[in-house]
């Protein structure tokens, strides 16, 4: 499926870039406000995972859990954030998967560079945003990040991808 026109493409591309920037700048509160009240942030544990309730995940977070993570990252005594995790998100291959009344799904490719303490890590994967139109712009209904190495052993994953 193609974007209707350049305006639609710009609109959705700008939204995804804005979201990535909020994460890279640790603007957790603003990032959380991008979600619908029942929105889900999900990073599956295995390739092709269809179910987040009956199978474990890498991240599986509703508003409560996203808020708890954001609060923890900002605590003075979050020892595992001494120093804090630094990230840079690079998005590409942004494509419209489907469009419905006030709702659309957008696929993008993610390269994520993460630095903390002594270690630079690279994550890559495919991201599927399910978005809903609100009065003042898009809201995230679901953000699903399928990492190429989702089923690998990982060291701690502390910040949102």
């Amino acid at each position: 499926m193609n974007f209707r026109d350049w305006n639609e493409q710009q609109d959705l591309t700008q939204f995804l870039h804005h979201e990535a920037r909020l994460l890279d700048e640790h603007r957790w509160d603003e990032w959380q406000k991008l979600f619908t009240p029942d929105g889900l942030y999900w990073v599956p544990l295995v390739h092709g995972q269809v179910d987040h309730l009956n199978h474990a995940s890498l991240f599986c977070e509703d508003a409560l859990l996203r808020s708890m993570r954001a609060r923890r990252l900002e605590q003075a005594r979050a020892y595992s954030q001494q120093p804090p995790t630094r990230t840079v998100h690079v998005l590409g291959n942004i494509a419209l998967e489907s469009r419905d009344d006030g709702c659309c799904t957008v696929r993008s490719t993610l390269l994520l560079l993460e630095w903390r303490k002594t270690e630079q890590r690279t994550f890559g994967g495919s991201v599927l945003h399910t978005l809903r139109r609100a009065d003042d712009g898009w809201r995230i209904q679901t953000k699903r990040v399928d990492l190429v190495n989702c089923d690998a052993p990982h060291e701690a994953l502390q910040v949102f991808m």
């Binding site: 609060r71 020892y79 990982h154 060291e155």
Partner: protein, 442 residues
């Protein structure tokens, strides 16, 4: 090279080298992991004949396979011909036989040789295809306890049940909590890499006094989250399982720790009957199958982490087993398996997964501060800032019990108990009087 081990472990302190010396790590692989019963997996991971899953026992890559007769075998993942790994890492189905990718030698699912190409080429040679050494080598001993498969790389040593001692009651309770009395692995396996010696992780399992300090960021975040909710909102499960780490030291002191021979042990929790709908529906399912009296008996066994030394830690209340696979002196892999209680409502299993996602997964909010602590310990122990690691708290105050000893929740008895076992495997004399460390009463 001989390594001087004597004097490294004393009844109430250990030398830093046991955590940092790569040569000692290699000896541990030979002597601790080469002798003890190690957790391999659960029978439900290989439900049908031909199903296999691989793992590591110490340094050894092994594969658990179900044979056509239903028996579960554990063998070295190595073809007896040229040495290639027979099955790829992971799990799957081999079908009716195992076939090596390299030259097509095939083996029955019990490891015995089935066929080789160019059989005539071996006629009148020194290689006798009937010789058992041309089957896949099995690990020395395999035994199962209520579906949990253990293996030992040594022909000698106690039987599995004797080895487990008092820790067997945790595996019993693990299964008894299922209305059908059985559990099965489900929902995938999470894997976490730690940058620390494996023993640091084990010691932390019953270290109650780190929680309030180390986990301040997560218990405070959980408390703040609840405070931000409208007054009178019941604490959600997500908050309960995180903010408990903020309990004061007096709370932990009241818990009872039990330590058993061979390094095992568990922490007795405080029984608080849960009253949320998910818990009530589960309790009703257990009562329907077992009767109210027996169900109450089962649920009163309320334990936090059990230690089955040196390979795994079952958590009976949240249906999970963490398996500890040392990779090197300062790297450890922990695998987290979730289990379904057969006959319990689906919501019970979904809660099990919620617990593991929040508390144990790589993205846990709780665990990163543990990993940071372990890593700082590992790095600090590599320095010249001191030689000894203290295990003195409440030393000499253990209460003997059959096959082990008990202490209050703030004692470092579990560490002393594990090192007593470690010294036994490693052939180290701790200088303790027998009753001081073994503490057993027959």
């Amino acid at each position: 090279m001989t390594i001087e081990l004597q004097g490294l472990v004393q009844p109430d302190r250990v030398h830093k080298r046991v955590y940092t010396d790569p040569a000692i790590f290699e000896l541990e692989m030979d002597r601790v992991f080469g002798q003890a019963w190690l957790y391999v997996g659960h029978e439900s991971q290989v439900p049908k004949p031909g199903d296999y899953c691989t793992t590591r026992l110490g340094r050894e890559p092994v594969v658990m396979v179900r044979h056509t007769d239903g028996q579960v075998h554990v063998m070295f993942n190595r073809c007896p011909h040229k040495g290639a790994k027979l099955v790829p890492d992971g799990s799957g189905s081999a079908g009716k036989f195992l076939r090596c990718l390299y030259h097509g030698w095939t083996f029955k699912c019990d490891g015995s040789l089935l066929s080789v190409p160019l059989r005539s080429g071996y006629e009148c040679t020194a290689l006798d295809l009937k010789d058992p050494q041309y089957g896949v080598r099995k690990v020395a001993r395999v035994a199962t306890y209520r579906g949990f498969v253990f293996a030992s790389l040594s022909e000698d040593g106690p039987e599995l049940k004797e080895f487990l001692g008092g820790a067997a009651t945790s595996l019993d309770n693990f299964c008894d909590r299922a209305p059908e009395g059985e559990v099965e692995v489900a929902g995938g396996v999470q894997r976490v890499i730690q940058r620390n010696n494996w023993k640091i992780f084990f010691e932390n399992l019953h270290d109650t006094i780190h929680a309030v300090a180390t986990h301040e960021s997560s218990w405070r975040a959980a408390k703040e989250e609840h405070e931000a909710m409208p007054a009178g909102t019941p604490k959600p499960f997500e908050v309960v399982i995180v903010d408990g780490n903020g309990e004061p030291l007096e709370f932990w002191e009241k818990l009872e720790l039990k330590g058993y021979d061979h390094g095992h042990g568990f922490m007795e929790g405080i029984f608080v009957p849960p009253t949320d709908p998910v818990s009530l529906a589960y309790v009703a399912s257990l009562e329907a199958s077992q009767g109210a009296v027996r169900a109450d008996e089962i649920l009163r066994v309320n334990r936090h982490n059990t230690i089955v030394y040196p390979s795994c830690s079952p958590h009976t209340s949240f249906q999970q087993i963490r398996v500890i696979r040392p990779l090197s002196v300062d790297r450890t892999l922990v695998e987290i398996f979730s289990f379904r209680l057969k006959g319990a409502p689906e919501a019970t299993f979904q809660r099990t997964l919620k617990y593991t996602n929040i508390v144990n997964s790589p993205s846990s909010n709780v665990m990163p501060d543990d990993l940071e602590a372990y890593n700082r310990v590992q790095e600090g122990l590599g320095s010249d800032g001191g030689d000894w690691v203290s295990m003195h708290r409440a030393a000499g105050r253990d209460q003997p019990l059959p096959g082990g000893r008990a202490s209050n929740g703030n004692s470092e008895m579990p560490s002393r108990n594990m090192f007593a076992a470690w010294a036994g495997y490693m052939g180290v004399d701790t200088g303790a009087k027998t009753n001081e460390l073994a503490g057993s009463v027959e």
